[in-house]
């Protein structure tokens, strides 16, 4: 699959699913055009609902639909999905054990010109506190397509962190994905970079290429799932390398890096070295995505620098 708008992949996948399964419905809050689900509404007008600019009601309606056996996909910008309507998602959805699928678009710096008000650096941290939830951030069109299907079939609440813009495919067509499973993209003996999402996974791959030219062999894992974390794959590669850099388009607190730190602190992996690349307790700002990438230290060079430093200091770590 060539470069493709992720939102188009999301919408097309939902449309295909809807043809196979009459339970699939879409609920939106005046962002159907942004999410790309207008073709869904054209094809299934009786199964797509625009509640207007009312995110709380969107999730309440979604929960009611789920109570009657529907599988609702409710989408809005990630800032509103997490911050504005969290109690509705939590109580009417998750606590009521109703399989509402919440889609938070425009993660982190991809919010770009919408600026700090619309820049969710905290949505994963908020969502990780929901018991039993699946949280995924696909890195490319192939993984997105597969994971929308997995979320639809899970029978549980899920949070899909959806990058809307066009990105290149990382995976070959037909690659299979599971909720709770990451993917090893590259082997390496010196360090492992664990990255999340359509911006940070390519940055991590580029960082690994730079490091290779300097003689450092970095493995790269596409985390994909923040909850549950793929502890098997992650532990295996931390065990092999003894050093790990996490890379996420999100606060360091509460996100992938935090989840890794928790895993390491309570496991046999204690003593491995960890550096988290992410936002350092700051609010978002307005700017281009590339400018913001540098502003918040999320570039390939930031990842490579962290890796170099960890590898150089590896002799100081205690053996694990």
């Amino acid at each position: 699959m060539a470069a493709k708008e992720m939102r188009a992949v999301y919408a097309e996948t939902l449309l295909e699913l809807a043809k196979e399964d009459p339970r699939i419905v879409v609920v939106e809050a005046d962002l159907m055009k942004a999410t790309g689900t207008t073709p869904f509404k054209t094809a299934f007008p009786e199964r797509a609902f625009d509640v207007g600019v009312a995110e709380a009601n969107m999730l309440g309606v979604a929960a009611g639909l789920a109570a009657e056996g529907k599988i609702p996909f409710a989408a809005t910008f990630g800032c509103f999905a997490s911050r504005r309507a969290f109690d509705q998602f939590f109580m009417s959805g998750a606590y009521a054990r109703l399989p509402v699928k919440l889609v938070g678009t425009d993660p982190g710096i991809s919010a770009a010109f919408n600026g700090g008000t619309h820049m969710p650096f905290e949505d994963i941290g908020i969502m990780r506190m929901v018991p039993g939830i699946d949280i995924v951030e696909p890195s490319d069109p192939v993984s997105l397509q597969a994971l929308v299907r997995k979320l639809a079939a899970s029978g549980k609440v899920g949070y899909l962190r959806l990058h809307r813009k066009a990105v290149d495919a990382i995976y070959p067509e037909g690659e299979t994905f599971e909720l709770g499973k990451g993917k090893l993209l590259r082997e390496g003996k010196d360090i492992v970079i664990i990255a999340l999402g359509a911006i940070m996974v390519p940055e991590a791959i580029e960082a690994a290429q730079r490091l290779k030219s300097e003689g450092i062999e970095a493995a790269v894992i596409d985390a994909i799932s923040v909850k549950p974390l793929d502890t098997g794959l992650i532990s295996e590669w931390i065990g092999k390398t003894g050093a790990v850099v996490t890379a996420e388009n999100h606060q360091k607190m509460g996100g992938l890096g935090s989840a890794l730190a928790e895993l390491i602190a309570e496991s046999e992996l204690q003593g491995c070295r960890l550096t988290r690349i992410g936002v350092a307790d700051e609010f978002g700002e307005v700017g281009t995505q590339d400018w913001l990438k540098k502003r918040f230290g999320l570039s390939a060079e930031d990842i490579a620098a962290a890796a170099r430093s960890l590898v150089a200091g590896k002799g100081k770590r205690k053996q694990i």
Partner: protein, 297 residues
């Protein structure tokens, strides 16, 4: 309504009150005021109007009820126990560890509860989704929702109000338990929302306002609301999207109905009737027993 039917409903309402007072008194604390204010409504719904089957709590053809003011759960538990959804012995387990009867309604714990509620304003939105799903599925069922006047401070109530009217969810019949009190005081002083009729009408609803303790009046407005709705007759509705319904040559669906019930918080329990403090109050089992005996006099 003939006098036999009226006295049957009066007995049901009295029994809901007695069980509610008993269960909360047995525990020693609970949301007694807002539970007692809806006892008459629950009696009419469960003992006259609603199509339910206690043997099949999730029967697809049942009418649904969302108690959006979820803290009034004990009154609903009384009605459900009387209908036979679960044994009456459960009532004394209210709020005890491991119970199936938590203070706020839980669809996964209690047979007969259609939606989990408790965080105010959310149940009315869920009722919209439930009504919508049943329209999609072409079921000839009604969704009833009960909200509080204090609860109506929540913005989400009005988000749901516009959604319901816009989508002409005419099989949603909602009630506002207007008991004029909220936790911090009387609603007119804390956050005055009157006129409720004008507000709901402005949002595009059919509105009725009646004495919420008048069983005949409650039954009559519910039956009128249902009569306004065209029968679905088992057939899938051709034009369920509002826009196409507007332009359909068939009669479009009618508007949703909001029934404002003027009630008294704590109605029927001498120790708390009309008291602001009855929202969530402590009282011992002796007090409960006296109040129950007074209801029997």
């Amino acid at each position: 309504m003939n006098s036999m039917e009226l006295s049957r409903l009066e007995e049901a309402a009295k029994e809901i009150r007695k069980k509610t007072i008993d269960m909360i008194g047995f525990l020693g604390v609970g949301h007694i005021g807002g539970a007692l204010s809806i006892a008459d409504l629950l009696a009419v719904l469960y003992f006259r109007e609603m199509k339910v089957d206690p043997a099949q709590p999730r029967w697809p053809e049942r009418d649904r009820l969302v108690l959006s003011k979820g803290h009034a759960g004990p009154a609903l538990y009384s009605a459900l126990a009387m209908k036979g959804f679960f044994p009456e012995e459960w009532l004394h387990t209210l709020n005890k560890g491991g119970t199936n009867l938590p203070s706020h309604c839980d669809r996964n714990k209690t047979p007969g509860i259609d939606m989990t509620t408790g965080s105010l304003g959310q149940g009315i939105s869920a009722a919209c989704g439930i009504a919508l799903a049943n329209r999609m599925d072409g079921r000839d069922v009604f969704t009833y929702a009960i909200i509080g006047d204090g609860e109506s401070n929540e913005g989400q109530v009005w988000e749901a109000a516009m959604f319901t009217a816009h989508n002409r969810l005419d099989r949603l019949i909602a009630f506002t338990d207007c008991n004029k009190m909220q936790i911090d005081g009387v609603t007119s002083e804390i956050m005055n929302l009157e006129s409720f009729e004008a507000k709901w009408a402005a949002f595009g609803w059919e509105v009725e306002r009646i004495d919420g303790h008048d069983l005949e009046a409650i039954a009559s407005v519910i039956e009128n609301a249902r009569a306004r709705v065209r029968p679905r007759a088992g057939a899938k509705e051709r034009n369920s999207a509002s826009a196409s319904a507007e332009h359909s040559t068939e009669r479009p669906p009618t508007r949703p109905t909001m029934i404002i019930l003027d009630t008294i918080k704590g109605k029927g329990a001498e120790f708390c009737e009309g008291q602001v403090g009855s929202h969530n109050m402590n009282f011992d089992y002796e007090t409960a027993k006296k109040a129950i005996a007074a209801l029997d006099r």
